[in-house]
Amino acid sequence: MKKQTYFAAALFFLMFSFKAKAQETEDLLSLVDSGGTTKTFIKSAFKSTRVINGHSLEFLSPGTMDFRILHRFGQLDQGYKNFFGLDQASMRMGFDFGLYRNLMIGVGRSTFKKELDGYFKYAPIMQSTGNKSFPMTIAIAAGITMNTSPWADPTINNYFSSRLAYYYQLIVGRKFSERFTLQLTPTMVHTNLVALHTQPNDVFALGAGARLKLTKRIALTGDYFHLFNGIERGVTYHPLSIGVDIETGGHVFQLHFSNATGMNERAFINETTTRWGKGEIRFGFNLSRVFQLKKKAKTDS
């Protein structure tokens, strides 16, 4: 009886020590890994800070500048005589700056209406994983555009404010997987002076933008804005763009087909005058090059 007790006790301790030993060789890291993951923000939901025309939920990294050259060519249905629209081009040149992880500003100038534009984009909530994560990004963008072309009628009393228009946008989106991102962007565009008094000063639209990543460096993109008012039958249409993002080492090329010519919110939402159904589409591209303005402090090891 006594012998058995000793034996059982010995066996128990042996088992215990073996168990401990087994743990030791296999999982040293679990001894210090607290298990809880730190909060990390999702990056690379889109290749660029714009889907095609509209703002995307992506932000520039702090301390970087994005130099953007945008081109929209003529209509494809102009045929060979105009080289399928490539003979004419409208362009916008812009500089965007990443200030903080969730704040960026930008300025640009378009040839169409010699328009200057500026905006800021701020995300109070960004999609993240880990502790206290949130499943989507919520951002706001607000901008102002200024028409600098000569007054249509210089003989009348023209006001500076007549040159201005504003837009306000909410960007709600989520990177659902490594491949797929979707966002919705309710937008309001206010134009101080409209051409006709049948046109509203405030135009409301709901935009949608998506990306489908095909390979590491190529993605399909699309963006569409549905206008609830301000659409004039036979004059203006809802802007739809479908394109491909190609990322090389330092550049992002966004090639696309679109019925919109405008390259700022006021222009492409209010003044898209051609439609897909009739082949009145244009080829266009956005070229983005990111520069590091502020280098991160190098730490010695």
Partner: protein, 185 residues
């Protein structure tokens, strides 16, 4: 009596498991440099919160590195590192699990400096390979400083460098490990 002494031996054996022989850090540093010779810009990252545990009794040594923690001088490079090369969303961690082969020659209780050889399995980008390298252990006032420099071939871990950036990114990465280990309580 004989049985009791046998039991005591077993007890002792079980007891040693709880002795103070594990060292760790959560703030280890790892640098890597994958700059091609003649590249105009440095392709290098630094990580300042590497997890490392060393069992001085067995010589077991393990590292864990959250890949998103690598910091680069250029934000875009960091983005490309995570999105295109390492694919950090898919493979968030790199790990090393191995042994100090000549552990018995290290006296952890006294100050000193030792050359050690380390052998084990390195997992990067979801791919595990056997590696063998040498390192340095400096024991000073109950703390262990572990350093090592070695090179990995990126192709071994299925990290492909496209031709377009071949003049900037090298096919191999030099990895510098620098950890100061405290006793684990």
């Amino acid at each position: 009596m004989k049985k009791i002494s046998w039991l005591l031996i077993v007890l002792l054996f079980a007891g040693t498991v709880f002795a103070q022989d594990k060292y760790f850090t959560k703030t280890g540093k790892i640098n890597f440099d994958a700059t091609s010779p003649g590249s105009p810009e440095q392709v290098e990252g630094i990580h300042k919160s590497v997890l490392c545990v060393l069992d001085t009794k067995t010589g077991n040594m393990q590292f864990s590195v959250a890949m998103k923690g690598f910091e680069f001088e250029r934000a875009l490079m960091q983005e490309h590192f995570n999105e295109n090369y390492i694919e950090s969303d898919q493979f968030p961690k790199s790990e090393f699990k191995g042994m100090i082969s000549n552990n018995s020659s290290v006296n952890y209780t006294a100050n000193g400096e030792y050359k050690v050889s380390v052998k084990g399995k390195l997992t990067i980008h979801g791919i595990t390979k056997d590696i063998e390298t040498t390192g340095n252990l400096v024991i000073k006032n109950g703390k262990i400083s572990a350093t090592s420099v070695f090179t990995v071939l990126l192709a071994d871990y299925k990290i492909s460098i496209p031709g377009l950036v071949a003049d900037k990114v090298s096919k191999t990465a030099k990895i510098i490990v620098n950890c100061l280990l405290d006793p684990l309580r």
